[in-house]
């Protein structure tokens, strides 16, 4: 085994805040070897990004301080280097790419200048030698026409392209180690797949080590060789990929797996980790996960667990290949003397799974999805939303953004319809048009027989109580200057529901808060006092306050951590069962769709390209775009090798959509006819429909086949 390239030993990073010293990273140790991918996995606030910044010594000054530990790069302690030498390390030996490609590039410099800057600093390349190297690098990261692209400015590039340029800049110094801090979180799944593939290929070609920081179990499963799970500033589990995915040892890791939504868990509530990610201000006495752990026993609360190997080998503590965990349970399992405790703890877990099993039929989800009545609640027909682009002094309309370009959908009472697509495909605009927040250009939106586009003034106001919205970002969806009670009361006041006087409304607010699982004394607190998940609960309570029949959920869980996402999904599902709500679920997260939706609509560039029941769309997708979308999603299922369809390029601009089928420039099955006209709808079954020329041609064949059989 070769020596580690980077080894971090007992790293402790503190932040001076107004509330005192906070240990953001508390005793983290791990090794990264040459040519391997090491993943730091954790939810927000667990200290994974701070670890990366500590390695680069880029902590915000003067508040952030590394107070203990060593960071050894090839045996040399980076923490004792003077700042001058450290500058050669950054970019030269360790490079970093960040989460947000939009803000990581300087908007006033060309791509060439930004890459050449790094070349001049670390390789001393200037003039034509630098030009050539820039083109090589751009070529290496898969940017077409590198010579032309090098002269462009960041705003001329798409998000995926920008991230490629960031990678090119990072590679310019030919680093030994590349730190990627959530490199694909801000990107769409199809672009994410491209970037991950690129990183993997570059790592192979250049023999770099890759330190990958992510919260996405799927990304970890596809990329990592070794995994360290962080929680509350500590590494709680470390293993190689196969061990980790086969048998996660820490209760936190186990719960993370259980709380991932997918199709198999449809009929049961998701396992949740109660509570929230601890704030960095929390003082811990025992195990940091103890307050949220369901396998907790008294020792956990009093004594911090030791770092130990799962198999009980008293081996080197930092051997990457040995599965390590920081849990009293593992110690107990290892120790024969504590067999009694083991069985008790084991029972705990077993009994929990039993409870899940027992609650399954009780829950009535299956029954309910059958109960989905045939009463049509909302029927949208040929909905179009075009935004004019105005140019010049007189603001003449120079063109239109075809944000939504002919969408049909129907939602029945008690049904969940998912609208899936990449960002920029118009799904949020469609949602806002249905809510009458954005004016529809054409088409009809019929809600229980009322044509919403024709309603005006008081009539529309009265109708508004029937449909509500839950937003993506729980931080910006509430007025920070109002207390929770006023936030919830606002809709009741405006629409005159929930009682005429204040006392009746207050009683209703208490009831709503209980319904969404919040204590009633949170009424007089401000939104900033709550965590993301709790805020999302308040938003749900606000929407429920006016007793709507339809709730449009605009990516309600995408800003939340996995463990909290499960809580919100469970809440949404149980509310649907109790109140018979219908949901229009706008999302790009296919696993959430698989768990929650009855019907799925796939949207591409303002139009719906495929529709069907969840099972039909996710398991036997017809449209090439749906297939690509499905295969781009990283899965934790490492055993089954699915067919990989990789999409080239980015989503085209909705200002000037491609002729014919909008998808043809990126489609692997493109035919000449695709360029000429938009395909007609093809029924695959009663409920399954797609719009693709592949099947309009096949249709005749298949009909023949049917007639033969």
């Amino acid at each position: 085994m070769n020596d580690p390239l980077l080894s971090v030993r007992g790293l402790q990073t503190c932040f001076a805040t107004t509330k005192g010293l906070v240990r953001a990273v508390d005793g983290v140790s791990f090794d990264v070897r040459r040519g391997e991918t090491f993943a730091l996995l954790g939810e927000s606030g667990c200290g994974k990004s701070i670890t990366a910044l500590s390695i680069m010594r880029l902590l915000p000054q003067p508040v952030g301080q590394i107070t203990a530990g060593q960071i050894l790069l090839n045996g040399e302690n980076l923490l004792t280097l003077p700042e001058v030498d450290m500058r050669a390390v950054r970019g030269g030996r360790i490079a970093m790419i960040f989460q947000e490609p939009m803000t990581s590039l300087n908007p006033v410099l060309t791509v060439h200048e930004q890459i050449a800057e790094s070349l001049a600093r670390h390789k001393g390349l200037k003039g034509s030698a630098a030009d050539n190297r820039v083109h090589e690098l751009l070529d290496a990261v898969g940017i077409p026409a590198p010579k032309a692209r090098a002269k462009e400015y960041p705003h001329q590039l798409s998000g995926g392209m920008k991230q490629r340029v960031m990678i090119a800049i990072a590679l310019a110094g030919e680093p030994d180690l590349l730190i990627a801090d959530e490199p694909t979180t801000a990107l769409d799944v199809t672009i994410q797949a491209q970037v991950l593939e690129l990183l993997e290929q570059l790592q192979r070609d250049m023999g770099m080590a890759l330190l990958m920081i992510t919260h996405d179990l799927g990304v970890v499963a596809e990329m990592a060789d070794h995994i360290a799970v962080m929680y509350g500033g500590q590494v709680v589990e470390q293993a190689c990929r196969d061990d980790f995915f086969a048998s996660p040892a820490h209760p936190y890791s186990r719960k993370l797996f259980q709380s991932l939504p997918d199709m198999k868990k449809r009929d049961q509530p998701l396992a949740v980790i109660p509570g929230n990610v601890p704030s960095p201000h929390t003082r811990f006495d025992g195990c940091r996960f103890a307050p949220r752990c369901d396998a907790v026993w008294p020792l956990c609360r009093t004594e911090p667990p030791q770092w130990q190997s799962v198999n009980g080998d008293p081996e080197d503590h930092h051997n990457n290949n040995v599965h390590h965990v920081r849990c009293h349970l593992a110690a107990a399992e290892n120790s024969a003397k504590q067999a009694a405790l083991e069985s008790k703890a084991g029972e705990n877990i077993d009994s929990k799974t039993d409870i899940d099993a027992v609650t399954r039929p009780d829950d009535g989800t299956i029954a309910n999805s059958d109960n989905t009545s045939d009463v049509t609640l909302l029927a949208v027909d040929e909905l179009k939303v075009h935004f004019p682009i105005r140019k010049g002094l007189l603001k003449r309309t120079a063109g239109h953004v075809h944000a939504v370009d002919g969408v049909n959908l129907t939602i029945h009472r008690g049904q969940t319809v998912a609208l899936v697509g990449e960002s920029g495909c118009g799904k949020t605009t469609a949602g806002k048009a249905i809510l009458q927040l954005t004016k529809a250009t054409a088409g009809s939106i019929c809600f229980e027989g009322d044509e919403l586009t024709q309603l005006k003034g008081e009539a529309l106001r009265r109708r508004r109580r029937d449909f509500q919205i839950i937003f993506q970002d729980p931080y910006s969806s509430m007025n920070p200057r109002m207390v929770v009670a006023n936030i919830i009361e606002e809709g009741m006041q405006a629409l005159r529901v929930g009682g005429n006087n204040s006392t009746e409304r207050q009683a209703r607010i208490d009831q709503l808060l209980q319904q969404v699982g919040l204590p009633t004394d949170s009424k007089y607190r401000y939104p900033h006092e709550f965590s993301g998940g709790q805020r999302q609960r308040i938003c749900i309570a606000r929407a429920l306050a006016v007793e709507p029949k339809l709730i449009i959920c605009d990516e309600p869980t995408s800003a939340l951590d996995v463990s909290v996402q499960a809580q919100i999904l469970n809440l949404l599902k149980s509310l649907q069962n109790r109140l018979g709500l219908s949901y229009l679920f706008i999302t790009h997260n296919l696993s959430v769709v698989a768990y929650l939706a009855d019907e799925v609509l796939v949207m591409y560039l303002g139009r719906i390209v495929e529709r069907g029941t969840t099972d039909e769309v996710l398991n036997s997708a017809k449209h090439p775009y749906t297939q690509a979308l499905l295969s781009a999603v990283p899965t934790i299922d490492t055993t089954s090798k699915k067919e990989i369809v990789r999409l080239e390029g980015d989503l085209p601009s909705p200002i000037d959509p491609p002729t014919g089928c909008h998808f043809h420039p990126r489609c692997p099955h493109s035919q000449p006819v695709c360029r000429e006209r938009y395909p007609a709808a093809v029924q695959h079954s009663d409920s399954h429909q797609s719009l693709c020329h592949l099947f309009t041609n096949e249709k005749d064949d298949s009909e023949e086949c049917h007639s033969e059989t």
Partner: protein, 470 residues
């Protein structure tokens, strides 16, 4: 009986004070508003500058309660006649300063006039010399030998009194603070000295100590001398600078008060409604912005002067006229200076109207006016506050500039601008008269510097981008 006189600017100041008191009470009840203010008070700069500003405000407020004194009843008439002179409570407090008028210039703390005069000697004959002042150092027999000792002795006595007063203030503060926290006053005092309180009481008390010392010093010295000298007509310069405080504060405060409704209403409307409303408002402020401000102010002030000359009967006293001109100046300054804030508010509203909570409110069918007052206004208030505090110091300076140009406040009104304007000639004569300019400069400098530092503290506390990690 005295006859109260309510000047227009007084009325507006009372309204403003009432508004501020309401705002403080409102803030105390709302945690999200209290928090930034507590942060302002927890910084040393914020707390100290606030104490200094409050000192100025106290002077200004005392100077804003006006009345006319009755004339002595000479002919046993039943009706009382009132003096044409409008006085304020502040004037009464500093009566000696106001009444002890010399003949002409005298240097600070001087016992002799600044220019030679020919005086008749008691024994007959004439001598050209520096005459003794009527009031300044009049108690001395031989100023040449006694003056310095007398000044030093008075200073030391004043400082001793100040020290005594200061200790009393410190003890009362400690007692008052300990009352709320159930500790002894001595323990509280210890904590204050070690700077262990959330509010920097030590810095505040030191600042109060300095202010008390200066007050005692001025009181003691000005009883016997003219601390800042006298001006051309022999008026005490210290009195003038103190009277100028009100003018400066009125210009700073009332102008912002007049500017705010324009800026807030138009800015938010432009940003919220967009479309043609936005176009009209933008057109309005772009046009207004392109007219030179001084030109507009000069034209309006000249118009007002003509109006006052033609309708002299509407203005009973000189003070009335001066006050009208001051108010008019505030109004015209306010009308020309709302555009900057309006533009910022429009931009912020454009951003806010797309936020999710306003979308949610629209989805509930909440009315536009309610959305503006409940969601947008509170969320742009921090910008308004920062702009107001920043503009304040700019306006105090603008008054000086405008008076210098000749279109500022009435020449009979004491103001720093008028003092500086007068100093133009005084600096040109030989020997030079420097104390008017210096006194005006020092007073204005302290006020503007405190206002600027205070606005920095306010901005740090309210600007979300600068807000520290919670």
């Amino acid at each position: 009986m005295i006859k109260p006189e309510l000047l227009l600017t007084d009325l507006l100041i009372y309204l403003l004070v009432a508004g501020i008191i309401y705002f403080i009470i409102y803030t105390r009840r709302h945690e999200h508003l209290r928090r930034p203010w507590r942060q302002v008070m927890s910084t040393r700069t914020g707390a100290v500058t606030l104490v200094i500003l409050l000192t100025y405000v106290t002077i200004g407020l005392l100077d804003s309660i006006h009345f006319q004194l009755p004339l002595e009843n000479q002919n046993n008439q039943h009706e009382t006649h009132y003096s044409a002179e409008v006085l304020s409570v502040f004037d009464i407090i500093v009566t000696p300063l106001r009444e002890r008028v010399e003949k002409t210039y005298s240097a600070p703390l001087a016992a002799h006039a600044y220019a030679k005069e020919t005086i008749e000697l008691p024994q007959g004959g004439q001598q050209r010399t520096y005459p003794r002042l009527l009031y300044g150092g009049a108690h001395l027999d031989d100023p040449a030998t006694e003056r310095i000792t007398d000044i030093v002795a008075t200073t030391l006595r004043a400082l001793a009194v100040a020290l005594l007063l200061w200790s009393i203030i410190i003890y009362v503060t400690a007692w008052w603070l300990s009352h709320g926290q159930q500790t002894s006053a001595a323990a509280m005092l210890q904590r204050i000295l070690n700077n262990e309180c959330a509010t920097p009481w030590r810095a505040i008390l030191v600042c109060i100590g300095v202010i008390v010392a200066i007050l005692c010093l001025l009181t003691a010295l000005s009883a016997k001398y003219h601390v800042f000298g006298t001006d051309k007509v022999g008026e005490d310069v210290l009195y003038q600078t103190l009277k100028s405080v009100r003018t400066g504060l009125v210009i700073g405060a009332l102008t912002t008060l007049i500017m705010l409704p324009f800026a807030i209403l138009l800015g938010i409307m432009a940003g919220y409604f967009r479309g043609w409303i936005d176009d009209v408002i933008q057109y309005l402020y772009t046009t207004l912005n392109s007219i030179p401000g001084v030109l507009l102010i000069a034209a309006s002030i000249l118009m007002l002067q003509v109006y006052m000359a033609n309708n002299a009967e509407q203005f009973e006293t000189v003070t009335d006229r001066a006050d009208m001109r001051l108010l008019f100046l505030c109004i015209i300054l306010g009308i020309t200076s709302w555009t900057g804030l309006c533009r910022i508010l429009r931009g912020e509203t454009l951003k806010l109207r797309e936020t999710d909570y306003i979308q949610a409110a629209r989805a509930f069918g909440v009315r536009h006016l309610t959305i503006i007052t409940r969601h947008i206004l509170p969320n742009v208030m921090h910008i308004v506050l920062i702009a107001v505090v920043l503009d304040f110091s700019g306006l105090v300076l603008a008054e000086a500039v405008l008076s210098y140009v000749g279109v500022g406040v009435d020449p009979t009104m004491q103001s720093w601008g008028n003092m500086i304007n007068a100093a133009r000639l005084e600096m040109a004569r030989e020997p030079m008269v420097w104390w008017s300019l210096l006194a005006a400069f020092v007073m204005m400098f302290i006020l503007v510097l405190s206002a600027n530092l205070f606005s920095d503290a306010v901005r740090d506390a309210f600007d979300p981008r600068l807000r520290k990690m919670d």
